[in-house]
Subunit: 217 residues, 2 copies
Amino acid sequence: MSSAQKDEPARRQPADGAKRSEIIAAATERFARDGYNSTKWADIATDVGVGPTALYHYFGSKQHCLFVILDEAAQDALERFERAIGKHSDPAVALHAVVADAFDVTPREVQRLRVLAAEHGLLAVPRKPAREEQARQLARARTRALDVTWATLLARAMERGVIPEGDARLLARAVLGLYNSIWQWYRPNGIVALTRIAEFFSDRTMALIRLAPEAVA
Amino acid sequence: MSSAQKDEPARRQPADGAKRSEIIAAATERFARDGYNSTKWADIATDVGVGPTALYHYFGSKQHCLFVILDEAAQDALERFERAIGKHSDPAVALHAVVADAFDVTPREVQRLRVLAAEHGLLAVPRKPAREEQARQLARARTRALDVTWATLLARAMERGVIPEGDARLLARAVLGLYNSIWQWYRPNGIVALTRIAEFFSDRTMALIRLAPEAVA
């Protein structure tokens, strides 16, 4: 596996790409609902109407597929972060925009956040198969990039005196740790509505970073 | 499996109990270091010097053993919480005592917190084998009891005007979510020392619940 193209032939053909997305969607749904451990790779094949052998054309294993899902989740989170922050030069306004955006999630995105919250510990464990290991390293690097992006925004807010001085990297981990914990227990049809969770946790994230409510007028 | 005694014969004999503790210690170490998924049940047997068949005298499966570890972790956390809170009638003092105590952890306890942080999602997935399912329900109930204990203390602090009014149950989840997230990335030999983490996260937990620094004189 010397190149990304060689490793991911599915990306080169549109029809292949559509089937690949279908597999990712089916896997995300099962991992979120039944747990990664309880999900059988063969069930995902059945969901999307391909044989287990054909499935291996797209992913080397269930774990490979999981790493790709986690990588896409981190990649999307990074893109959203940049979009939300893009227009705002005031770090206080940017912080509010990024936090509000983080709770503006579709049911599909909630599924993926749930998989990320439940399984991201697997990113710490090296894998032997080359495709798995490559996908793991990619997903881990992207997750760390999200940490750094958050730490950079928080450091900027500290420099501008918008929030009190502190360890921006630890604070980024605290913010992301608090956010990720929500998806461990949140259920779309549970008794606590997403709007209430968004309101509560946005407010508490501001408390955590010590951003004064009057900072945004 | 109609009774706990019947399910856990190891508890009735001291020698059996010692071996059982050894198995739990070995499993916790491997789960924390290599991840639950990558750990082979047979390796744990080798660690403690028993055959794989003898291992089944103590635990029905690797997953059964994991649930017992998670249950003991939650049970210890509950006992520590009660001990830390015990002497203090002032909720502000009690909150400080409980948070300080939560960071007063041994390397063995850190291992267990890491396993809890990484694998507690498995508590949500029902199991078919009776011993596994019974252990899962026990561990889940105990984890929930910890949520309730935290929510009760926070509600008391709200009633007394020590912290602002809010949803005590969501706030308990926020506090525990923030705390549990630490053990996902903390490494005993990493670059961030535990004393610094304890100081930073104790302080930020107080910010999260909006306990004013001057509340404890």
